[in-house]
Symmetry: C2
Subunit: 222 residues, 2 copies
DNA sequence: AAATATTTTTAGACTAACCTAAAAACACAT
DNA sequence: ATGTGTTTTTAGGTTAGTCTAAAAATATTT
């Protein structure tokens, strides 16, 4: 009988997935250590164990990637995390800045049936409250063609569809600026001095946005 | 900074609460070991640690009781467990025999806000799907005046309000017999030979019920 | 009250997950 | 290619939680 993975092991798989997601290159020990806020030595320890279980491809000094089995587990965790986030915002009226932490716990609940019924109950949402895509039962993601606000051309109509950072402070700040998912945006001007932007929001107010913020907002052209 | 209890520690508190709930006497090491399906030596170990944290009153060879703090934590766990069970049956259409296992995991999610909002979302239920009372925020239980079906007088109208055992097999069996919460019952006859009962269910069918089953059903006179 | 049986605790060992400090491997600049 | 600096691994130690086997305390029986 093979018992389920511990939450710790699951978190390692998720971290490796996240590091590899964009870059496609193997994740380094350090990448994982930083993401999990732990030490490199601890990571090496765990990599050996996960490798033993055929969940990762690991060779000393060469970095780590997920095996197919590892990928399935990682995407299932992301699926659960994001579905629970939708539950918390849509059904329990939590703010989008409050849900991440709770979902970090809920994603480790083991019950396929629960996940699938939750998805049903929520009407098969395709994106979570931060605009991240929710993988389906088979682990397939529906990616969008989105672009960073910082890279958007002048005078192009767009809508906010996601964020590139999930920290509470950032999300609360965005809300205060009235920059939430679905907000309509047009860049009216860009200032090369500090790379800040002048934007019109929802065809009403105009405001400037710092480069740092603009690099953490995803928009879609319309 | 005092960090939250581990799930293991929480489970010990819950077990001690359960043993002490009815009897009022201190729980023995063995009681706890049996309930948690572990060994007495492990329990002794843990009792020392929980005592250190002032969550239990423990004296060698004398058994264990919960301190006020320990009781608060234990009832909070029961509250969460039962609220989640209501969620699973009422919102996700799980059967009453399926919810216990999943709720065992969900009860360890740490977020007061989540529990309170869940309660709100479920319309402040007073009882879980098995008829057990759900403690309020302050940990107060609303007990009912209920009686075992086995102790019910002949020809007394009653309603099933709870069960004394939560095993999957028993609950599925009850459902097959059409004995669910809310079913109306009248004992028409009792057979001293094997202490089985002849009952009328919902003013319709008549059937016999074994002594073992009758000892695990709670009814309320009407 | 002594003998026996049961329960509980101690002693010692194991695993998972972490850490620090030192050694080994790798990267890369001169 | 040699030396320097960074990254990764090893070595060894810690804590939580578990176990078995033996010792100690309590309970029961005669």
């Amino acid at each position: 009988m093979k018992q389920p993975l511990s939450s710790t092991e699951e978190n390692y798989l998720k971290a490796i997935f996240k590091v590899c997601e964009r870059s496609d290159k193997p994740a380094s020990t350090n990448d994982v250590a930083i993401l999990l806020n732990t030490k490199a030595a601890s990571v090496t320890d765990m990599l050996k164990r996960l490798s033993e279980k055929s969940l990762i491809n690991y060779m000393k000094y060469k970095g780590v990637t997920l095996t197919d089995t590892g990928k399935i587990i990682a995407t299932s965790l992301i699926r659960k995390h994001r579905l629970w986030e939708v539950f918390l915002t849509d059904k329990l009226s939590f703010g989008w800045e409050e849900v991440h932490e709770i979902a970090e716990q809920l994603e480790h609940i083991q019950s396929k049936e629960l996940t699938n019924r939750l998805e049903e109950f929520l009407d098969h949402p395709k994106f979570d409250p931060h605009g991240d895509p929710i993988p389906d039962r088979e682990g397939k993601f529906e990616y969008r063609q989105q672009v960073l606000l910082a890279d958007l051309n002048k005078n192009t109509n767009s809508v906010i569809v996601g964020v590139n950072e999930h920290g509470t402070e950032f999300l609360q700040y965005l809300e205060k600026l009235n920059l939430i998912l679905g907000s309509k945006l047009v860049v009216l001007d860009t200032f090369t001095y500090d790379n800040s932007l002048l934007v019109r929001v929802n065809d009403q107010s105009e405001q400037t946005i710092s480069a740092k913020v603009a690099k953490n907002i995803f928009v879609q052209k319309i």
